[in-house]
Symmetry: C2
Subunit: 140 residues, 2 copies
């Protein structure tokens, strides 16, 4: 299935904001770098604003800025700000409870999936918007 690009786009935008500290960037300008449309950017940034990661300013000269130092914004916190769901999906229909495996497989899988997602998130916690920007600049 086509995965959501929201996390990637959010990191792209945050890195862009970090590259221009103190400047408010408009949704339309941001959309130009991401190669998408302004409404999509605004919808996405709304989640980050409600999580306190960015600040928005309407009107002439307005736009988006980081609300916290780039060093303090971990990739894990961005993922959470977006309300991204679990990586693994359970059955679409409840398994047959008359079957021992069907009755307990979800509990067993929840434990395993939890460990796997935690391991992934611990890696995301090691990176910040600031480190992303450094990585981008190192490729120039």
């Amino acid at each position: 299935m086509a995965l959501s690009t929201r996390f990637t786009v959010a990191l792209h935008v945050l890195t862009l904001l970090a590259a221009y500290p103190g400047q408010a960037l408009a949704s339309a300008y941001i959309a130009g770098s991401v190669n998408t449309n302004a409404a999509f950017v605004r919808r996405l940034m709304g989640s980050l604003r409600r999580a306190g990661l960015v600040h928005s300013q309407p009107g002439t000269g307005g736009g988006w800025q980081l609300a916290r130092p780039a060093e303090e914004i971990t990739l894990r916190s961005v993922r959470h700000a977006l309300g991204e769901g679990p990586v693994f999906a359970m059955h679409s229909q409840r398994p047959n409870p008359k079957c021992t495996v069907g009755r307990h497989i979800q509990g067993a899988l929840t434990a395993v999936y939890g460990e796997a997602e935690k391991a992934m998130e611990m890696q995301l916690e090691q990176h910040t918007v600031a480190s992303l920007l450094r990585s981008v600049r190192g490729r120039r």
Copy 2:
């Protein structure tokens, strides 16, 4: 977007096969435990068969069996057998190459995403169909 349930269903079926060693289980019976339809099971199991994880037998008394010991089938190998794609998706449109961030963000993200997915897979490698079955039975 709604995540694929294929990985979960595959693990469910493999655990079921491990619970009945030496017995061939028909797609219709398996579908009854998973609470889905036989064609979906057959489509899914086709991937596992091509990866050498299960064996199928047509005709009366036929069905599906594990092709390898349950202890040797890691959750990571199941994920690979299904050809599951990456956890993180890049932009749907290529970012603007005239922007420094747009030009290099995908390279930077590929590195980070690779680490995170590797950490997740190392966890999946720690579990097998046999350990899943033990976990299920421990909940009885």
